[in-house]
């Protein structure tokens, strides 16, 4: 071979190698999806209760198995979490049965707690291959909240009882509650509610203060909101069972459970472990007392002997 053809050959080789490198660079991520060997990734949505539940799952798994847990909290909503668990980027996250039924499985709401839970468990198993753990024991559904002194003064327990007094009250609701089909419209229809004037619509965070400062008399909040006990609010019982149940459960990837069945056993110990009251107090510890969620959860688990 002559010198000039050697040089030309070498240039060809270099450019082919470069091309190969670039192709590999693009292909490598597709191939390199072999993560999560002995790691469990727990996700959660981006509000306090979810953070607490996510931390709860994480600490229980860490305490009761040999697996290490990675936390991927503050995911921006149901859709993001669902996509993440579908893609295997997270293995577990806390969900509510009502949301799972309507927003994820896209079915019609209806049925009592057990019925909804059953439908969700079956639907998730069949559609996604996910396992739904047992309910944790509380229901984070919509709550119609009034001041404690009004409840005591008027001897009110249920929403039906309160319906007599609402024409003298002002109501405050959040935007989402006004828009949702299972929100304001259905509530008014179900209980035949009337108010002194059209409801004031404001940010969720401002509703609590408005109720406290007597700018409104009844608001729609969450059943497990931490400020309920703290500010001496009272949750009216939904005796017409208008609001769908939103029981908290752990959603787990079937693939992950095949490799690590001990995770299921660990999380099952949380069945029924948290009442409405418990959840409110936990929420308040973080929101009201500004304590660190990790520490709050640790204390709770120790007290309940779930972990030592």
């Amino acid at each position: 071979m002559t010198i000039h053809s050697i040089r030309a050959r070498r240039k060809q080789i270099i450019s082919k190698l470069l091309l190969l490198f670039l192709v590999l660079l693009f292909l490598f991520p597709v191939v390199g999806c072999q993560r999560h060997a002995d790691r469990i990734v727990v996700g959660s949505k981006n509000f306090t209760e979810q953070l607490i539940l996510g931390e709860l799952f994480a600490q229980v798994i860490e305490a009761r198995t040999h697996l290490s847990v990675e936390r991927r909290f503050y995911l921006a909503g149901t859709f993001i979490c669902q996509q993440a668990i579908l893609a295997g980027r997270i293995d577990i996250y806390p969900e509510y049965t009502g949301t799972a039924l309507t927003a994820v499985l896209k079915q019609q709401p209806g049925g009592d707690k057990q019925e909804v839970y059953r439908r969700v468990k079956q639907g998730y198993e069949e559609t996604f291959g996910f396992r739904v753990g047992p309910p944790l024991g509380f229901d984070d559904t919509f709550a119609m909240v009034i001041r404690g002194d009004d409840a005591r003064r008027l001897h009110l327990q249920t929403l039906s009882q309160a319906a007599q007094f609402t024409p003298q009250w002002r109501a405050g609701f959040g935007y989402e509650f006004m828009e949702r089909p299972d929100g304001y419209k259905g509530l008014v229809a179900s209980y035949g509610l009337r108010f002194a004037e059209p409801p004031r619509i404001m940010d969720l965070g401002l509703l609590t203060r408005a109720l406290k400062e007597r700018q409104v008399d009844i608001i729609a909040g969450n059943n497990t909101d931490g400020l309920i006990p703290a500010l001496d609010f009272f949750v009216l019982e939904d005796d017409h069972r208008y609001f769908p149940p939103y029981e908290a459960v752990a959603v787990m990837r079937g693939e992950m459970l095949k490799n690590h069945p001990e995770v299921q056993a660990a999380l099952d110990t949380l069945a029924g472990a948290i009442s409405d009251e418990d959840m409110r107090r936990l929420n308040y510890a973080v929101d009201g007392e500004h304590r660190d969620p990790t520490a709050v959860v640790k204390k709770f688990l120790e007290q309940r002997r779930v972990i030592n």
Binding site: F26, P29, V30, N46, F73, I80, Q82, Q83, A87
Partner: protein
């Protein structure tokens, strides 16, 4: 702890999300190149198509990225998985630079050289692969570079629809009001883009110098 300590403490997650990010941007750019470069070659052969093709790609680019994600959400199959959706949307965005640069690169080859090649009896295929593409390669790689950098940047928004990647750190950090988390997403993303720009820029220069050897 300072930012670097934070990154070290969470390095597994940083690595995971960076890998996710590279996958999103990499697959998208690859797809766009597989479609865009041949399309760019096609419109040099069939000039009547150049206006509609370039116009179409231009329109896609004009749609705001988040809106494009939103449009694709209800689509069957694509909308079911955020990863697929994000890759498709990113690939659509990467099309214009690839088509346009391929087209411009080939058009910019000295017509005397092309004619000499044709006059010597090179078939259209030989002309394309031995003359036009090599001489246009600098400009084409410039298109790949732009497409890659754009994809890496847009992939941060993909986290908003649940596709993961370094954008997830940014959105989570915003919700947590935690700067370190935000930076843990923003800085690696920026570094990725800079690195890709640098490497492809070098390649572009090496290939571009072939043109000037005339």
């Amino acid at each position: 702890m300072n930012f670097l300590q934070f990154m070290m403490a969470n390095r597994q997650q940083v690595l995971d999300l960076t890998l996710e990010h590279i996958t999103l941007a990499g697959v998208a750019t690859l797809l766009a190149a597989l479609v865009g470069i041949p399309l760019g070659i096609l419109i040099t052969r069939i000039p009547q198509l150049s206006k509609p093709v370039l116009g179409g790609a231009n329109i896609i680019q004009t749609i705001p990225s988040l809106a494009l994600f939103g449009f694709l959400l209800p689509a069957p199959w694509i909308g079911e998985r955020a990863g697929r959706l994000a890759i498709l949307a990113l690939a659509l965005y990467a099309l214009l630079p690839l088509i346009r640069n391929t087209y411009a690169g080939i058009q910019g080859v000295d017509p005397a050289v092309v004619e000499a090649g044709r006059a010597m009896g090179l078939t259209d295929r030989q002309l394309l692969f031995q003359v036009e593409l090599p001489l246009a390669s600098g400009v084409i790689v410039a298109g790949v570079r732009i497409a890659t950098v754009v994809s890496i940047g847009l992939a941060t928004i993909a986290a908003a629809i649940g596709a993961g990647g370094l954008g997830e750190f940014i959105f989570r950090g915003l919700a947590m009001v935690n700067n370190q988390v935000i930076l843990a997403g923003a800085i690696p993303a920026a570094l990725l883009a800079l690195f890709a720009d640098f490497v492809l820029g070098r390649l572009e220069r090496r290939l571009g110098s072939l043109r000037s050897k005339s």
